[in-house]
Amino acid sequence: MRWLLRRVIRKAGNEVNVADSTIDAEALTIGRATDQSICINDIRVAQRHARITVSGRGRYRVEALSAAGVRINGEVGQGATVAIGAVIEIGPVTLKPIKVSGYDAALEQTDSAPSIEFSTAASAGKHRPSKRLWAWVGFVAVLVFALLVPMAMHYQPALRVLPLPGTTAWSPGTLDAAHQGIAADCTRCHTQTFARTTEAGCHECHQSVHAHADAERFGLPALNMDRCGGCHEEHRGVHGLRFANATSLCSDCHRSLQDTTSGVSKLANASDFGRDHGEFRLQMPVVAADGQLQAETMQWNVDLIEHSGLKFNHQKHLVAGGLETPNGPRKLECINCHQIEPGGARMQPIAFERDCHDCHKLSFDPIEPEREVVHGRVAEVVYTLNGHYAKRALEGGYAQSSAPAPVQQRRRPGSPPLPVAQKQQALEWARDKARGVAESLFTGQACVTCHTVTAPTTENPDYVIAPVRVAGSWYSAALFNHLKHASMLCVDCHARAPQSASASDLLIPGIATCRTCHQSVVHKRGVVASDCTLCHVYHGSTTQAVTEKAAVSP
């Protein structure tokens, strides 16, 4: 077998010498011993280090004869089958199988520097990851996934189905609970890019928004600000749209409202519920010129006289020992008559039938005490009495000594009809009786107990009950809710009620009562932090609208 050994000798200045030699041998032996085909006089090589045989066309079998092994393609091993181009390293010599025609086998031999080298140690720190590469990878990855992909999804909604970060990855915070339903589509509010959100997006859903106040009337152009986001900041959490500190927003104007509106506003300056807020102004019912009640706004004062049109003595009803009632002794509580309306805000109006009638019966005939007149309808009361006594008179058998004989006389079925004269006498009695009982009911024992009654005059032949206001909104501009105060006792706020002997006592509390618990948001121990929006509504104008569908009175 003819082997070609091509020795490549590198000289200075990139010059390369090639020396070919031919070896006739079955196997090529490599070692330090002189009888080897390739003799390498280097201590790093064993006497008989390795043997190379041809194992096929262009394929060689390399076997290590020394335990030190041979480095083939960078891996130290005891043997391997290699092909053209493989790198076999033994000591300082590198052998590469090559293809040369005319020979059975051919190897290229290159000698490296004669000293022992440690490539690994010299290159410490060189087998590191590339900072530059990873910097690029990081830069591009973040830019693509944090910016370009979401941007593409903005312009191409079809891409939003992809499981990649979308525009919601830009959301700086949780949306308010009210907006969670549209959270997936940023463009519902962000209608334009690179521009602040406008009111247009808001008005898509919020179509009946009232203004705060008339900007022109009060000379406050700032009130015309139509950008909702100016006050309503989104992405501030599930309850983010509720102002955490509305006081500062409101007090910007309301601190010196009289100055800023040049005295046009009727409201007093206010900047802080606890420290800078005027006494409440309540809607007091007053008797107008026509005798009807109408609300008049006035500042709360403990000495105000309430005109409810009723007579009522709280003290008498709330007496500690209880009351003697037709149904036995009973101790009354506030809630027996004052009940919260379903929404919880106000009290239900006092209803005679529900709240008073258990004790205050409207009976009129001692002979038939279970028969009563209706409450609240004067004409019907008179009609009922007339009918009742006429029937009694004509039927007879009415056991009252003052009644005429035909009325007292019991009539049996089949008796002959009353003569006309007796009939007239009976009906006359009935008319007089009804009139007397009516007078007694209205002015003596029933109606007059609670109501102011005007007896019939020649101009006005009917009894007149003074108008009554038993319930209503005292503080119409405030969002008070009784139900939210259910943990309190009634007397905690309505302190004078148990001692009040007259319905003219004003039992509605003023600001001082509220302030015992409610103070401004400037944190103070033991108080309820209360900003303006706890009681007041901003979009509360009845005359000015922000959106077209808001109903306003011109």
């Binding site: 201590i43 410490a124 720190g125 900072k131 973040v142 700086p172 890019t193």
Partner: protein, 323 residues
């Protein structure tokens, strides 16, 4: 001229002091005070600001803090350019590095105040997290620069790494010659061990692991000796072969008792050589390990800071894209 000599000495002392000045004490820690001042200013403005119920980056203060932080990040990244600009006269690199450390730290309060301490699963918090990772790796870098160079000096014991490598090459040559005189099998073992010695290895992990393969050779030689004695049918000696992992001295003792032929002397000198090599290899590997530790943080710090730059761009664009 004693007065002049004194002044020269003083000047030399001063220069000497400044040459060994720590990164943290450049110019009397001037940038520490700049960073503290900047942070305090940001904090006071934050506490005084009442313009919004929920502090966020969208107020005027928020924009100001955000712009400051963004400019700081860009400037901090310019250190990479400044330290390569050897001709630049724009302050010393040491001054830049000191400012880099302090102002980089000041970025923490400024960025947190800009964010109003609000975080979420979004690109904005990604930016914050990347910033913390970059700053955290930077802290490790400062720690490493203050600590490891002294370790390296002590470990090298006056020699350079190249000198130590040269000595190992020397020892290897002698070990091979000695082994060859004893037995071809021993030669093969030593050769194999040289081929397999890894000083530093390929890649960061093996550099940090700090293992060299030089102990394996000694263990194998001991095995070879036992085998050789068996083959030569030496009279059995009541000598326990030292267990794997025992010291060189035990090995030499063992050889002394084995009453072998003249190659005992060679064997002893071979083992002596291998012990020397082991000691040297240990130092080199430790040196490589320390160097890796010294440079390691940069492989986190630099790539992440570029990711941070991308996140910064994404943050700014996204915020105004959906203003």
């Amino acid at each position: 001229m004693p007065a002049r000599a004194a002044s020269v000495r003083a000047a030399l002392a001063k220069r000497g002091a400044s040459r060994h000045e720590s990164l943290l004490r450049v110019a009397g820690a001037r940038y520490l005070w700049v960073a503290l001042g900047l942070s305090a200013l940001a904090l006071i403005a934050y506490l005084a600001d009442r313009s919004t119920p929920v502090a966020n980056g969208g107020t005027w203060l928020g924009y100001t803090l955000g712009t400051t932080a963004a400019l700081l990040i860009v400037w901090l990244m310019l250190l990479g350019i400044r330290k390569r600009s050897y001709a630049s006269r724009l302050g010393t690199v040491q001054g830049w590095a000191s400012a880099h450390v302090y102002l980089g730290t000041a970025l923490i309060p400024i960025a947190l105040l800009h964010a109003g301490f609000r975080v979420g699963w979004n690109v904005h918090t990604l930016l914050l997290v990347l910033m913390f990772l970059v700053i955290g790796s930077g802290f490790f870098g400062v720690f490493a620069y203050l600590r490891y160079p002294a370790f390296m000096t002590r470990n090298r014991d006056g020699a350079s790494r190249d000198a130590m490598l040269q000595r190992i090459a020397d020892i290897d040559q002698r070990a091979l010659t000695t082994a060859d005189r004893i037995d071809p099998k021993l030669h093969a073992i030593v050769l194999r061990s040289i081929a397999r010695t890894r000083l530093g290895g390929k890649g960061l992990l093996s550099e940090l692991r700090a293992r060299d393969g030089s102990v394996a050779a000694i263990t194998q030689i001991r095995e070879a000796i036992v085998e050789r004695q068996t083959v030569l049918a030496m009279p059995a000696q009541p000598v326990q072969a030292p267990a794997a992992g025992q010291t060189m001295f035990a090995m030499v003792d063992y050889l002394a008792h084995s009453q072998d032929d003249t190659s005992i002397g060679n064997l002893r000198s071979l083992i002596d050589l291998l012990a020397q090599k082991h000691e040297l290899a240990r130092r080199i590997v430790r040196d490589v390990q320390l160097q890796a530790l010294l440079e390691l943080w940069l492989y986190v710090h630099v790539p992440l800071s570029f990711a941070l730059l991308a996140a910064l761009i994404a943050h700014i664009v996204a915020v105004f894209f959906y203003w």
